[in-house]
């Protein structure tokens, strides 16, 4: 879409909501401020109705700040806590039936390529762990098998947050949760490893305790999806409400997880590596490093 569509005509500018003008003047549409700009620039996510200390809303806020071209992005969601912030984010957002997200994203991406073949339009799935690892697992994997050029981001709070703290496939083994009254009987579904074998060109595992790593991962994931193939970012976004820790403990919980089992990881296919190397060679002349 870029400048022409976004920038209001002079005569109309005063009629537009202040918020929109802010997004254009001080926001991320025309200039990328990244995670470092949070707090000093206009954000895509301004307010949300999540619980205090919610890791999911923090994950969304950080991921939104990392989008390379928010004005040319559509986020596809699904029911779950993430919906509540995403529906209020200043990016196109679609959300319908639980678990259909990667099929919807496939349709959107293909149609955008049919109708706007000369333009970069990013299609990003951003949903909960249950939405991907349980009800939407087949559609997620098949979008990767088909090598759809979309980015899939899991906001992993290891529980069904939205429906009241039930066991998800991504919950830890032994964890006592609703519908797992004697503790979960099997380990976390290995979606992260499956992404590598299922055809993703880039995968990253990160937590909300490492915002700059998260930013780089999301940015790479979107650029690689645009140019090479499907990408997957799994973000640990702990849920104070259902995991029953104090709402100011989210970052600490995520930091502990980084030490124990949620270490940072990145994987590239040869094509993805080559693409980034080319980009870096190009950008180095401008003083920006992509990797």
């Amino acid at each position: 879409m870029k400048t022409r569509v976004i920038t209001p005509a002079d005569v109309f500018e005063k009629y537009l909501p202040e918020e929109y003008r802010d997004l254009v003047d001080r926001g991320p549409y025309l200039e990328n401020h990244g995670v470092a700009g949070l707090g000093t620039t206009k954000e895509l996510v301004e307010q949300h109705p999540h619980c205090a200390g919610c890791g999911v809303s923090l994950g969304i806020r950080l991921a939104a700040a990392s989008l390379p071209s928010p004005e040319d992005t559509i986020i596809v969601g699904t029911p779950g806590c993430s919906f509540f912030a995403l529906a209020q984010t200043a990016v196109n957002y679609s959300n319908t039936a639980f678990g259909n997200q990667n099929a919807v994203a496939s349709g959107i991406k293909r149609m955008l390529q049919v109708r706007h073949p000369d333009k970069n339009k990013d299609v990003i799935v951003m949903v909960g762990d249950g939405g991907i690892a349980d009800i939407g697992l087949d559609l997620t994997l098949h979008s990767w098998f088909r090598r759809e050029k979309i980015t899939t981001i899991m906001l992993d709070n290891e529980v069904y947050g939205n429906t009241g703290g039930q066991e998800s496939g991504m919950s830890k083994i032994g964890q006592k949760l609703n519908m797992a009254p004697t503790g979960k009987k099997f380990p976390k579904v290995p979606v992260y490893d499956m992404a590598k074998t299922a055809g993703c060109a880039y995968t990253a595992r990160v937590t909300v305790a490492s915002p700059y790593k998260l930013e780089k991962a999301v940015r790479k994931a979107v650029l690689i999806a645009r140019n090479v193939g499907p990408t997957y970012v799994q973000i640990y976004t702990p849920c104070p409400t259902n995991m029953k820790f104090p709402s100011n403990g989210t970052i600490n919980v995520a930091k502990e997880a980084e030490k124990e089992y949620y270490s940072f990881d990145e994987y590239f296919t040869k094509e993805a590596e080559q693409y980034l190397a080319e980009q870096n060679a190009l950008k180095n002349s401008q003083g920006i490093d992509e990797k």
Binding site: E71, I74, F83, T96, N100, M111, L112, R115, H142
Partner: protein, 387 residues
């Protein structure tokens, strides 16, 4: 469309363009319609008796008539991908049958709620109670309240015309709703019939997302803060009211489609011999069976009329009341055990004890004219109505 095709307006293609006779199956009639429908994208998943038509649509993609096409992983994924493709502002097509329809069920109200002019063909067949792949249209009963418009084809000609007409009506700015075009599996899909076709060099104008009452998700429309789906993120009166009024608007859009259906289908129903005391009211291939029964009854000296219902949603209540003014008996033969059409008709008429939901066949049984005639004769013998 292909470069060698000529774009013409819908009325020319449907009403004025010279047509040539062909002798083709219903599945081939579907492909002939799609060839002329300027489709951007189709997605398919195989199921009998739909498969052949989507093989042919795949071939249309290979030949350049359709711009993108793939075989998806299941019907829920098909209908979700079609939903996505339509959100991004293009014209789409898919088809399914019986169990595929049920597998995809959650997506149909989504299409209507998202105001998408998706056209889907349903080659109706039995569902698992017990398993059957045979002709049966019980799945139509399950789709009645999904918000999609529903047209029921009697034969290959109807199937061809209704698919093209479905796009035209669906895409009207004051309608913009999905349309299901239904045909009874095997009877229509797998039999050859005479179908009059306009030249394959002609095609509809391409879909314009600017005609939509809601913006396309193509990032060409500021101000880039769009959640098109009805609000559910606040538990308060305003979001309930927004959801309810959106819902009402979906139903109202279907009502507004009547004027276009009247024009393009030449009425939501067709009536023969409205003065007859015995009427048949049917949709799909049951109509053809009634035609033969009426001919034989006439030979026996019993005159009967026929109401062919072409649009099931919106339903022609008023037209039915008008067409049954003189009727003492209204027989509703159906290819399903539930008798959904008889129920719909009963709900639309006064003195609805006149409606006889007979005969009904299912599980793959055919409906020979004899059993239709039997149903009529049985009623006549047990009544004092003089015909």
């Amino acid at each position: 469309m292909r470069q060698d095709q000529k774009v013409v307006n819908a009325d020319y293609l449907l009403f004025d363009a010279p047509r040539k006779e062909s002798f083709i199956t219903g599945s081939e009639a579907v492909a002939e319609a799609i060839k002329r429908a300027n489709i951007d994208m189709a997605v398919a998943y195989p199921i009998t008796p739909q498969s052949e038509s989507m093989h042919l649509v795949g071939e249309l993609y290979a030949k350049g008539y359709v711009k993108d096409f793939y075989r998806a992983e299941n019907e829920f994924a098909v209908m979700a991908a079609i939903h996505g493709a339509s959100l991004a502002g293009g014209r789409v097509f898919t088809a399914t049958s019986g169990p595929g329809t049920l597998r995809a069920m959650e997506m149909f109200p989504v299409w209507a709620g998202a105001r998408q002019p998706i056209v889907c063909a349903f080659m109706c067949r039995g569902v698992s109670l017990p398993p059957s792949i045979q002709p049966e249209n019980i799945e139509m009963a399950m789709l009645l309240e999904t918000g999609m418009m529903m047209l029921h084809a009697e034969n290959g000609q109807d199937f061809f015309d209704m698919l093209l007409k479905a796009y035209i009506v669906a895409e009207k700015p004051d309608v913009h709703l999905p349309v299901g075009v239904f045909a009874d599996g095997f009877f229509v899909t797998h039999t050859r019939d005479k179908v009059m076709l306009p030249s394959e060099d002609l095609t509809l104008e391409s879909y314009s997302p600017h005609c939509a009452p809601v913006p396309a998700f193509n990032m060409e429309t500021p101000p880039i803060r769009i959640t098109r789906d009805p609000l559910l993120n606040k538990s308060n009166f305003i979001s309930y009211a927004a959801n309810a009024s959106w819902h009402q608007e979906v139903l109202a859009a279907s009502e507004r489609a009547r004027k276009y259906l009247n024009r393009y289908l030449n009425g939501l129903l067709e009536v023969e011999k409205p003065e007859a005391k015995i009427m048949f009211a049917a949709s799909g291939t049951a109509v053809s069976q009634c035609r033969e029964a009426i001919r034989r009854l006439s030979d026996m000296g019993i005159e009967a009329g026929l109401i062919k219902i072409k649009s099931v949603r919106p339903f022609p209540e008023k037209e039915l009341r008008e067409a049954t003014k003189e009727a003492e008996w209204i027989f509703v033969p159906e290819f399903n055990a539930g008798g959904w059409l008889a129920r719909e008709i009963k709900a639309a008429l006064d003195r609805n004890s006149r409606v006889v939901g007979e005969p009904r066949v299912f599980g793959g049984m055919t409906m020979p004219p004899e059993i239709i005639i039997d149903a009529v004769l049985k009623r006549l013998q047990s009544s004092d109505v003089n015909i």
